[in-house]
């Protein structure tokens, strides 16, 4: 197995290539575009036997993607941010069609104000769409997760689409060593797509996405989706075991870092978890018993794995790189709901909001998180949402406001 330096975007494209997809409808948006550019080149050059089509919008792109998957082709597509939201109603259609395609979302904060940099309000807006969600920390994990995503999505017990998320910039444009799985081995892991319950053919007509009248059939089909999504936890476990056997890398629905004797645990997702892990190391060196829990699977929500990891801890801090205005952190709400019924639940839950729109998560920020979480653990009183904003950021913003008001020229 050879290892190559590549960006998260290229790793995503390799995931699609190794999954031997049949169809790729595309539409450009930063920071995702490099993925579809790579795929377009491979389709043109014959390295990948897929049809590549540039669509007129993400709404059309997702419709074409879902329709092709429903016809029986293995489909890949990718987007970010505004593109994901532009396609929003179609996400719900695709999961309702039970069309198991894979969509890569390269996280980018939503306008307004407009920015290219990352946070998770885009992908988490899709949390109720019926798509499964896997959030990756490294470029290697991006590639591996795409292969696992197809295997899980296409399993007869699941038959639901998957979003694989990677962070814009910090992963999409960052080169890391990535080991490319051997295509032969991939074929063993991911059998060809031959769906039993999808497809339009002259000899076997099929109606999909039809109207229902009244709540009885509607609720039935929605319940089916929920139960299938829950099945994905078990299917993920099987896929992870098989993946480890073939490729030597192990992925679980959550990942614990230095949890063994940790009193307080910081919960994070995606690429910034690496920064969080480094902060745990620093805090450990100072003698603090802290650890990190990274949520990898967001849908289905791995409630049991979360409870197992956090049972009996003193305090838990959730660092949300998203903001539901008027509410707080999205993942914090779900964590709190999962832990409520745990008898040995942590004494305090703390909610922190940081890293919005590529905002830096400094060593100081993590230091403050650990300090405040420890205090909350002692007092038994949770805090938050705490909006992380350093004095340096405050000074910089004041400067910008003065420039905007025309009272000073920007220092360079």
């Amino acid at each position: 197995m050879d290892s190559q330096m590549m960006t998260g975007n290229l790793a995503a494209a390799w995931g699609a290539r190794l999954a031997d997809v049949d169809y790729i409808p595309a539409f450009p948006i930063t920071p995702q575009t490099e993925i579809v550019e790579a795929l377009a080149k491979w389709c043109e050059g014959g390295e990948l036997a897929a049809r590549f089509v540039t669509m007129d919008s993400e709404h059309s792109m997702m419709t074409a993607a879902g329709a092709a998957e429903a016809t029986g082709a293995r489909v890949f597509t990718a987007t970010s941010s505004q593109g994901l939201l532009y396609a929003f109603e179609v996400l719900y259609s695709i999961s309702g069609w039970r069309a198991p395609l894979v969509l890569v979302n390269v996280s980018r904060a939503l306008a307004a104000p407009i920015t290219l940099e990352s946070d998770h309000n885009d992908v988490l807006a899709a949390r109720d769409s019926g798509f499964l969600q896997i959030h990756a920390e490294t470029c290697q994990e991006v590639l591996d997760s795409i292969l696992m995503a197809y295997r899980i999505a296409e399993d007869e017990r699941v038959m639901l689409p998957v979003i694989v998320n990677l962070d814009g910039f910090s992963l999409s444009f960052t080169r890391e060593p990535v080991s490319l799985p051997d295509p032969e081995q991939v074929r063993k892991f991911l059998p060809p797509f031959r769906p039993a319950h999808l497809g339009f053919r002259a000899s076997a007509p099929h109606s999909l996405g039809v109207a229902v009248i009244g709540g009885t059939p509607y609720a039935y089909f929605r319940h089916q989706m929920h139960l299938a999504s829950i099945n994905a936890l078990e299917v993920h476990r099987e896929a992870a075991a098989s993946f480890e056997q073939l490729f030597g890398r192990r992925y679980d629905v959550v990942e614990g870092y230095r949890l063994d004797d940790a009193e307080d645990v910081l919960v994070m997702t995606n690429a910034c978890s690496s920064t969080g892990k480094a902060a745990v190391d620093v805090a450990r060196a100072e003698g603090k018993r802290v650890g990190l829990l990274r949520l990898r699977m967001i849908r289905p929500w791995p409630a049991d794995a979360i409870r197992d990891a956090l049972r009996g801890r003193r305090a838990v801090a959730v660092l949300d790189q998203n903001l539901a205005p008027g509410q707080g952190g999205i993942l914090f709400q779900e964590m709190a709901a999962s832990l409520y019924h745990e008898v040995e639940r942590p004494r305090a839950l703390c909610s922190f909001i940081g890293g919005l729109g590529g905002q830096n998560l400094s060593v100081g920020a993590f230091h403050a998180i650990f300090e405040q979480t420890a205090k909350a653990g002692v007092s038994g009183k949770g805090i938050g949402p705490v909006l992380l904003y350093t004095q340096a950021e405050h000074r910089e913003m004041t400067q910008l406001q003065m420039v905007a008001a025309g009272s000073v020229k920007r220092e360079t």
Binding site: D22, Y23, P25, A49, A50, R51, V53, M55, D56, S57, H59, S60, M61, T63, A64, A65, G66, A67, A68, E69, A70, T71, G72, A73, V75, E89, V90, S93, W97, R194, G199, F200, R201, A202, S203, A204, P205, H206, S207, L208, G209, V210, A211, V212, I213, P217
Partner: protein, 312 residues
């Protein structure tokens, strides 16, 4: 002079039905009648890709009106759905995963509201990419399924739920019907045609001719609509007939952009058509809105004068 080659006599229209009875659509639905006639040429080896509208109720669990397949998409992206289905069928056939005998025609079914506005981007995209599909727009000149609101296909002078007659707008809808035929034509698809359910031979002939073309085959079907246009369901044939005979609904086709009128009516006065429908009653009662009626007549006359001048 345009001539029908395949369908010369009504006897030649196949008797077999492909839109089965018993749907939730209204009695006398002119759109459904147009589709029923179209399927006599299209057959059953079809996958319908539907946009939100009245026709969405043609497949309501656990029933469908078709022996063929069906995919409901969204109001704004049925042509993109057609793209996905067509591409997937082609790929699966090319890779040997689907026998050629299982191939299907891909037919978009969209209302005017979807077609003229919301789905215009995805329709334009599909035409631009040269997608091999049929587009069947049933034009009832309003957002029907939501209760007859003004759409870009609503003609000047029609009363809808959102273009009521008022002191400011005594004539109802103040804007003209958008010319979707010309918008389509600007994309240069190989085949475009307008059809009306009261002219079955003209309609069948056009579907037969379209079959020879690979690429977008665009149909605009008059969907005389008793529920929305406010006339008795039994009068659909008469309303559809007068739409054509007054010259308001020209029957034409465009092959590679070249327009031919397939029927040139003697042009009855537009009143004959308007008077039949409740949506135009305010033009005649309590007082006759002569100016508005003349405006409608003048538009039709101008259209046909131009057509005659251009020899189409």
């Amino acid at each position: 002079m345009w001539q029908r080659e395949t369908f010369k006599k009504i006897k030649q229209v196949p008797g077999e039905e492909h839109v089965l009875p018993g749907s939730a659509l209204c009695a006398g639905c002119g759109g459904l009648e147009s589709l029923r006639l179209a399927t006599k040429v299209l057959g059953d080896e079809v996958v319908y890709v539907n946009a939100a509208g009245c026709f969405t109720m043609l497949a309501a669990y656990p029933y469908t009106s078709f022996k063929g397949s069906w995919l409901y998409t969204t109001m704004g992206s049925a042509p993109a759905g057609a793209q996905g289905v067509r591409d997937a069928l082609d790929v699966l056939i090319a890779k040997g995963r689907l026998p050629k005998s299982d191939n299907l025609k891909v037919v978009v079914l969209g209302g005017d509201g979807s077609t003229y506005d919301m789905a215009l981007s995805s329709t334009s995209g599909a035409m631009h990419r040269g997608l091999d599909f049929y587009y069947f727009c049933y034009d009832n000149e309003a957002y029907g399924n939501t209760g007859m609101q003004l759409s870009p296909a609503t003609p000047y002078g029609a009363r809808t739920a959102t273009s009521p007659c008022s002191l400011q707008h005594p004539s109802g809808a103040a804007q003209e019907k958008k010319d979707i035929f010309e918008i389509w034509r600007a994309h240069k698809p190989p085949y475009i045609a307008t059809v009306a359910p009261r002219y079955p031979l003209d309609l069948e002939e056009k579907f037969a001719r379209a079959a020879a073309f690979t690429g977008p085959k665009m149909f605009l079907a008059l969907a005389a609509c008793p529920t929305g246009w406010l006339y008795d369901p039994g009068e659909t044939p008469e309303v559809a007939k007068l739409a054509v005979e007054t010259g308001l609904w020209p029957l034409k086709e465009a092959i590679d952009g070249v327009v031919t009128h397939t029927y040139v009516p003697k042009r009855k006065p537009v009143e004959a058509y308007l008077k039949l429908q409740g949506r135009f009653r305010h033009l005649f009662e309590p007082i006759v809105q002569t100016e508005a009626i003349q405006h409608i007549q003048a538009r039709v006359d101008a259209y046909w004068e131009r057509a005659t001048r251009e020899g189409s």
